[in-house]
């Protein structure tokens, strides 16, 4: 084999490399020790990537007749293209130029200059050995499949699909749930503008559902991916909906008639119910429901078929089976989204143990006007409006026991929650945070707004949550005022109304005690006197007037106290 003429170029990268590698020594060594491998020129230069550095290489290619070039500088990720282009312009096939990294893999990780220099020599030597075997290549263009697969139908997947589809390329979207929309569909408000979440999301959902370039698979999963960049084969598993989508009109009668109600762990975050045949929410795209076979009475016991009976188009198909579709796609966008941190992993926070500890997703459903409480923020008993609410930031984040990183979302989400609680319940809101991180457009302003609204911000990491107000911090009076009193309001109201009525209408007692003091007699006795004595005609018109007068305080009291009074009746006497 004819000997190659190799040029070796060592970059200082300012002090990035020169700080821990003796570049002049490496250059000298390469020129001498690698001479028999074909190195004919070896240089070091302050910034090889500068145009002067590139010109240096090009000049050598021309003047020294170099057939191979080795540049020892940064990672090929940064400048491989730069040097290949330089070689190309210098008249050398660009693939005969090797960039070896003596920065990321050498100077940055070695504090010792002697060791760094030795390693740099080894790396350069390796580069020279490789470049000898390099062959000139010609780039070619190959067609790639223009179809894009988007995995996940949340807002990220929807946006990605629309961008691609609107650019004129076909898209296949796969969503695990019966409807696209993802987590955003569960929210009521977005931060920091407090926009209506559904109003932003649903138009895009509809667009995806009806876009001619988008083929949508909901209630489906990607079963297999094979192939390589630009040419993938994907297998999509369409789970059996048990509903024939060609016939279904999405009228919703099946959901209405289905007798089986189950807790919805996905869309309602376990806080609400759905039927065994369901669409997660009214604006679902596609509009076709699915039958949850794990809970459907027909699939469990073999009888029921209420949905089939009532379906006007006969779209229910209990015998449907999972189907598999295979497509060729050129690229895949993964938009599989996020999942909630399991708060049960931090048992001292009591989630799952203490009734009124909620996760953020549960709170989103609580605050959503279409949620299980119709947007009323209440305790888990479903009726009591909280008097004070604590919001804990960073649960499971920034903690090496769980996730060491910052979720980058919970500060703003907590602020949003604080605002919603404040606005809808008037409760005192306490935010427990480690650091407030609000670095985006409008975020800091939102934080300021919350401060002005009177939300309390307490800095520190929450150690534990207990249901024991008595043990710390709350005085006996505090417990009575903040816990006992609010809970016994209905009972107190009922007692007050009855006691007042008894006292107001009392006839006998004042008659006995005030016998000798006619001027002190109350209205009840006065009313009796208007009845007239023996042989006297009753003053009916006065009686009527006084009776009306007497009723007014009673009515007033009832008007003021009836809210609690009725609450007392519903709390004690009625179920649910």
């Amino acid at each position: 084999m004819e000997k190659e003429r190799i040029g070796v170029y060592i970059c200082h990268c300012g002090s990035n490399i020169a700080g821990t590698v003796d570049v002049a020594e490496v250059s000298r060594w390469a020129g001498e020790a690698l001479k028999d491998r074909g190195v004919v020129v070896s240089r070091d230069y302050k910034f090889m990537c500068s145009s002067l550095g590139q010109e240096l290489i090009q000049k050598d290619i021309k003047e020294q007749g170099l057939t191979r070039v080795v540049v020892a500088a940064c990672s090929p990720h940064l400048h491989e293209q730069t040097f290949r282009n330089a070689c190309k312009e210098g008249g050398l096939n660009p693939y005969l130029c090797e960039l070896v990294s003596i920065r990321e893999q050498c100077s940055w990780i070695h504090p010792d200059k002697a060791v760094g220099t030795e390693k740099a020599k080894a790396i350069v030597s390796g580069g020279v050995e490789k470049v000898i075997w390099d062959e000139p290549l010609e780039p070619l263009r190959v067609p790639i499949n223009p179809v894009t697969l988007v995995v996940g139908g949340g807002i990220a997947g929807i946006q990605a699909a629309l961008e691609v589809a609107n650019a004129g390329y076909p898209v296949i979207m796969v969503e695990r749930e019966p409807s696209i929309g993802g987590h955003m569909a569960q929210f009521d408000k977005t931060f920091p503008t407090l926009d209506c979440s559904a109003c932003i999301l649903t138009p895009r959902m509809v667009e995806v559902g009806s876009h001619p370039n988008v083929k949508l698979f909901s209630y489906a999963e990607v079963a297999n991916v094979s192939g390589y960049v630009g040419n993938f084969q994907v297998t999509i598993k369409q789970k059996a909906r048990s509903v024939n989508t060609d016939l279904c009109t999405g009228c919703g009668i099946c959901q209405e008639k289905c007798p089986k109600k189950v807790i919805d762990p996905v869309f309602e975050a376990g806080l609400g119910y759905r039927k065994a045949v369901y669409t997660p929410f009214p604006q679902a795209v596609p509009k076709y429901p699915v039958i949850d076979r794990e809970n459907c009475t027909y699939f469990l016991k073999g009888t029921c078929k209420a949905c089939e009976k009532f379906c006007p188009t006969g779209a229910i198909d209990f015998n449907q089976e999972d189907e598999y579709f295979t497509f060729d796609v050129g690229q895949i966008i993964l938009a599989t989204g996020w999942d909630l941190f399991d708060a049960r992993r931090i048992p001292q926070y009591g989630y799952g143990r203490l009734a009124n500890v909620f996760t953020s997703l549960e709170f989103e459903r609580l605050s959503n006007a279409a949620g299980p409480t119709g947007g009323k923020i209440v305790l888990r008993d479903g009726v009591t409006v909280p008097k004070s609410v604590a919001i804990i930031h960073c649960v499971g984040s920034r903690d090496k026991n769980y996730n060491p990183y910052c979720s980058a979302i919970c500060c703003m989400q907590s602020l949003k929650f604080a605002h919603l609680v404040h606005e809808r319940t008037g409760a005192e809101v306490y935010n427990f945070y480690i650091d407030m991180r609000t670095p985006a457009k409008g975020y800091e302003e939102f934080y300021q707004r919350l401060l002005e609204e009177g939300t309390h911000f307490i800095r520190g990491k929450v150690a534990e949550i207990t249901d024991a107000a008595r043990i710390d911090g709350c005085s006996e009076f505090g417990i009575w005022w903040r816990i006992v009193m609010p809970l016994s309001k209905p009972a107190l109201a009922a007692v007050t109304i009855f006691a007042f009525q008894g006292g107001w209408d009392n006839f006998l007692a004042p008659l006995v005690y005030m016998a000798g003091r006619p001027e002190l007699r109350p209205l009840s006795v006065g009313l009796y006197l208007l009845r007239g004595g023996a042989g006297q005609l009753p003053d009916t018109h006065y009686m009527m007037a006084l009776s009306t007068l007497m009723i007014i305080p009673m009515l007033l009291l009832f008007a003021l106290g009836q809210r609690y009074f009725i609450q007392g009746v519903t709390l004690s006497g009625l179920k649910g």
Binding site: P347, Q348, E464, A468, R470, I471
Partner: protein, 322 residues
């Protein structure tokens, strides 16, 4: 299973009931304890803060003595402080060769040596719930603790700090092993929010009011949850809550009465053992009322009045009070 057993100073004296009951349940649970020969004090919580290396050498001497026992590599300590010290010393010696070297220099003076990681240091509770297991315990229960409301109290030294990946046998923030154990024994276990809080340690000696406040919170917490008694696994916790309960009551002018027993005593009771044989009756806050709920009779402690020996010198007479 066979274990090396490190009783520690407390179990010789104030916590003798813990030792007695641990020994009493060892046989039915199939545990065999071999006491470490010629063991010494573990240095408790104080010595570590005074002289680190010397204190670790003191602890390591126990490890070296225990390692002499060849039939088992498991070292059990019933006292939380001893357990933590032994475990920490073992873990740090394994982690840091320089500490190991220094300590071995000291140990060499007594002809001993120890290599970090040789022994597996375990707490008695860990052994009972994980080696013996809940099912085996449930099978032995003859007198379930039905109707007894207990507050499980772990204290702070048993599950913290988390040493290494598998450093603790329970959750460091919200432990539940003792809860499960007591449920298996048939007791009603309250969700005690202060279960892993500090009992005050030696604060009663250093700053009384601080110590008393820490004790008050625990006793009040258990009382508010209507517990009949607190069950613990640490002699320090038991001492603080039991022996200082009276002093705490007079400090705050309160009138709490909350007996504090060891989990080994509860196991013994559930196994139908005699209260006296478990050391019950030696606690200062009377547990008789609480235990009568499960039909356990505790004999009244006999007041032993020693007659002075013949050689005794006469006492000076005091002026009679009027």
């Amino acid at each position: 299973m066979k274990y090396s057993y490190f009783p520690g100073c407390s179990l010789e004296r104030n916590a003798s009931a813990y030792h007695v009951s641990a020994m009493a349940i060892a046989e039915p649970l199939g545990m065999e304890f071999v006491e470490v020969e010629d063991w010494n004090c573990c240095g408790a919580t104080e010595y570590v803060s005074l002289n680190l290396t010397a204190s670790y050498a003191l602890i390591a001497r126990n490890l070296a003595q225990a390692a002499k026992e060849t039939s088992t590599k498991q070292l059990v300590a019933p006292c939380s402080a001893c357990y933590l010290n032994l475990k920490k010393c073992d873990a740090y010696m394994e982690e840091s060769p320089s500490l190991e070297e220094k300590i071995n220099l000291a140990l060499a003076a007594g002809g001993l040596s120890y290599k970090g990681g040789t022994l597996k240091v375990r707490h008695l509770l860990d052994v009972v719930v994980n080696d013996v297991g809940y099912d085996a315990i449930a099978a032995k229960v003859t007198r379930p603790l039905k109707g007894l409301r207990v507050a499980p109290y772990y204290g702070c030294m048993i599950v913290r700090p988390k040493l290494g990946e598998n450093g603790t046998f329970d959750n460091p923030e919200y432990p539940t092993t003792l809860d499960k154990l007591l449920k298996v024994l048939g007791a009603t276990v309250i969700d005690f929010p202060l279960k892993a809080h500090c009992c005050g340690g030696h604060m009663t000696q250093i700053s009384e009011s601080t110590g008393f406040e820490l004790i008050r919170r625990l006793i009040k917490g258990a009382t508010d949850y209507k517990a009949d008694l607190i069950v613990t696994l640490c002699p320090m916790c038991q001492l603080n809550l039991d022996a200082f309960q009276g002093a705490m009551n007079s400090h705050f002018n309160t009138n709490y009465h909350m007996p504090v027993l060891y989990f080994t005593q509860m196991i013994g009771l559930a196994f139908g053992m005699d209260a006296a044989s478990l050391g019950i009756g030696t606690e200062l806050v009377d547990a008789r009322d609480a235990l009568s709920k499960i039909g356990v009779e505790v004999p009244e402690a006999e007041l032993v009045v020693k007659k002075p020996p013949k050689e005794a010198l006469p006492m000076p007479s005091l002026p009679e009070e009027k």
